[in-house]
C-alpha cells in the first residue's frame, strides 16, 4: 500500500545570487498513514525545505513528490492551495497567528479556504476546548502565553481534519514544561490516527516519534524506526 506522501529522488537547489545551494540531494521518503515521523539534523541540513515540499508549499528542482499517489508537479498553484487547505495542517515555531484576530477567529480562519467545515465557529470552539483553551478563545494572540498560542495554532491546523499535520520546530519558542505538554497533545493526536511529521531539535520530542529521520547536507544520513 503506497504512503500518503512520497518523495522520490527529490532535489532542491536554491539560487542565492550567483551561488547555487543544494538544500536537498536525492531524498527518498514514504510517509504512511498514521505515522509519527520526526526529522532531525543540524541547521542547514534541509529539514524545513523537506517539510515545505511535503506540505506542498514548494516544488522540487528535480525528482517527484506524490500526494495520495498523485504527482503534484503537474498541479496548478490553485490545486496545491486546495490540497493544503483540505489535507494538510501546519504548525510553526513562531505560531504565526493573525494578531488582529482572537484565538477563535484564528482557528476559524482555516475553514475559510476550504468547504469542509459546515459550522466553523462551533468547530473552532470544540477544538479550543480540546486544547484546554475554552476560557481564552476570545483573547487575541498578544494576550496569550507562548504555549497557549501554539495550542491555538494546533487547533487551527486541525480545523479541516487534515490527513497530515506538519510541525516545524513547534517547541522552539517554548520552555521545556510547555514543550512536554505539547508533546502529549501530539502523541494523543497521533494515537487517534493523525499522521504527524515534526521537524525538531528537541530530542525528547524526536525520540517519541515512531520514525526518526536524520538529515545532513540535504541527504538522509540515517533513519531509525522504533516500531511505534
Amino acid at each position: 500500500m503506497p504512503g500518503i506522501i512520497e518523495l522520490k529522488e527529490v532535489h532542491k537547489i536554491y539560487k542565492l545570487g550567483s551561488v547555487s545551494v543544494n538544500a536537498l540531494n536525492g531524498i527518498n521518503l514514504v510517509i504512511n498513514k498514521g505515522e509519527f515521523i520526526s526529522i532531525v539534523g543540524p541547521s542547514g541540513s534541509g529539514k524545513t525545505t523537506m517539510l515545505n515540499l511535503i506540505g506542498l508549499l514548494d516544488r522540487p528542482t528535480a525528482g517527484k513528490v506524490f500526494f495520495e499517489s498523485r504527482d503534484v508537479s503537474s498541479l496548478s498553484d490553485n490545486e496545491l492551495s486546495r490540497l493544503r487547505a483540505e489535507k494538510i495542517g501546519f504548525v510553526f515555531q513562531t505560531f504565526n497567528l493573525i494578531p488582529s484576530l482572537t484565538a477563535k477567529e484564528n482557528v476559524e480562519l482555516a475553514a475559510a479556504f476550504s468547504n469542509k467545515v459546515k459550522d466553523p465557529e462551533r468547530k473552532a470552539e470544540e477544538l479550543l476546548e480540546l486544547m484546554d483553551l475554552k476560557s481564552r478563545m476570545n483573547h487575541k494572540p498578544n494576550q496569550l502565553s507562548g504555549g497557549e498560542q501554539q495550542r491555538v495554532a494546533i487547533a487551527r491546523a486541525l480545523m479541516n481534519d487534515p490527513l497530515v499535520l506538519l510541525a516545524d520546530e513547534p517547541t522552539g519558542n517554548l520552555d521545556s514544561k510547555t514543550s512536554m505538554e505539547l508533546l502529549e497533545i501530539f502523541k494523543k493526536l497521533n494515537s487517534e490516527g493523525l499522521t504527524l511529521v515534526v521537524v525538531t531539535h528537541n530530542l525528547s520530542i524526536a525520540n517519541e516519534a515512531g520514525r526518526i529521520i536524520y538529515l545532513k547536507d540535504g541527504r538522509v544520513e540515517n533513519e531509525v524506526k522504533k516500531g511505534y
Binding site: S81, A110, S114
Partner: protein, 419 residues
Amino acid sequence: MKLRKAISYSSRNLSRNKLRNSMVIMGIILSVILGGVVIGVVNGIKEYYTSSIYEAGFNVIFVISGKTGVGGGFYPAAKPLIVSDVRELKNLPDIKAVSPLFIAGVFRFGDNVTYLIGADEDLSLSASLTLYKGRFVNSNDSSSQAIPVVLGYNIWQYFLNQSININSDLNLLLEPYSLTYGKGNPKSVELHVIGLLDKRAQVPGLGIDPNNVFFTDLVHAYKIFNVTDLSKAYVDGAVASTPSFQDLDNASNEIVSFLESKGYSEKTDFTVISQKDALRYIDRVFVQINNFINVIWAVVLTIGSLSVLIVMVITVRERYKEIGTLRSLGARRSDIMILFLLEASWLSILGIVLGSVIGIIVIEALKQYFEFIKFVTFPVILQTYAIILPEIFLFSLLFALYPAYRAARIDPVQALKYE
C-alpha cells in the same frame, strides 16, 4: 475564500497600525473635502449663472446701446440708440415684445444703490417680470404728477418699510444720472407706488439687479432730464423677447440688420446679447474653469491614491509572514489579492464616508465667511459627490492593485522565512 469572510477579515486588519491607517483615511478625507469645495463651488456658480439666465425670461434678447460683452466691459455708443428705432424692433418677424430701457438716476439706501429705470409696458412681458401686487406701468401713467413706480423686490421688501403697499406715496432723494444725458443735481422726487414685483434672478454680466430697480414709464424718466420728444430720446438699451427659444438666433440677426439699416454700426454702437449667447458664454468660461479644476482634481486624486499605494506597499512588506501563513492554510493567490484590495477599499470607503460628512459641514461653515460658497447647495454637493466619490474609490483601488498583486505573487516559502 468566501467574500463575506474576506470582508470581515480585511476589516479586522484596520485596527492594526491605527495611526498609519488614520493618516491614509485623513488623506482621502482631505481629497473629498477639497473635491467637494473646489468642484462644488464651480458647479454651484455655473448652476447659479445658468439658472439665472433661464429665469431672466424665457426667450430674451438684450440690446445695449454701446459695446459690451456678457463678461463685462463697456464702451459708450458713437451713435446711441433712440426710442423710436428701438420700438420699431417689435415689427420684426421673430420679435414678440420689446421695451426700451432708460436709466434716469439712482436712489441710495445706505450702501445699497437702486436705479430708476424708464420702460414701456412690454417690459413685464419681454423680461418676464411678475407682479406680487398691483400693475406694471403703462401709457396712461405718463400724465400723472407724481412719478408712478413699480418696485423691485429688494426695495419694498428690505430697503423701504415693509408695510409699503400699492398707492403709497414716497418722497426720495434722486441722483439724476444718465450715460447719455449726464449727471444732474440731487433732488427730491414724489413717487407713487403702483406695483410690487416678485423676487427674480439677476441676469449675470448685465450689471443691474432687477430686484433693486424702481421701474417707471419713459415719459417720467426722461422728464428728469427735461427731454420731452421721446422719439429722438436716447436709450440705454432694450429688452426684446421672441416666441420661442429656437427663434433667438434669427431674431438677433434681424435686430442687427434692422439697426444697421437705421445707420447704427454693430462695431461701435450697439450690442445684441441673447439668452443663448449668455448660455454659450457661460459654457465657454466654465469649460476653461473646468479644465483647470480637473487638473487640480487629478493632482488631489493622485495624492490621495498615492497615500493608499504607499501604505499598502508598507503593509504588504510588514505582513510577509502572514501572507505565508495564509498560503499555508490554503489561501490562493487570488484570495491574497482580494484581501489586500478589500483592505484598501475599507480605507477608501472610511475616508469617503467621513470626508463626505465633514465636507458638507465644512462647506456649510465656509458659507458664513465666503459669499460665493452659497451657490453650493445640497443638490450641487450631491451632484459633485456623485462624480468625485466613485473616482476616489476607483483610483484608490487602482493604486492598490500593484501592492495587492505583489502580495499575491510572494513565494510562500520565502514569506514564512521572513522575520
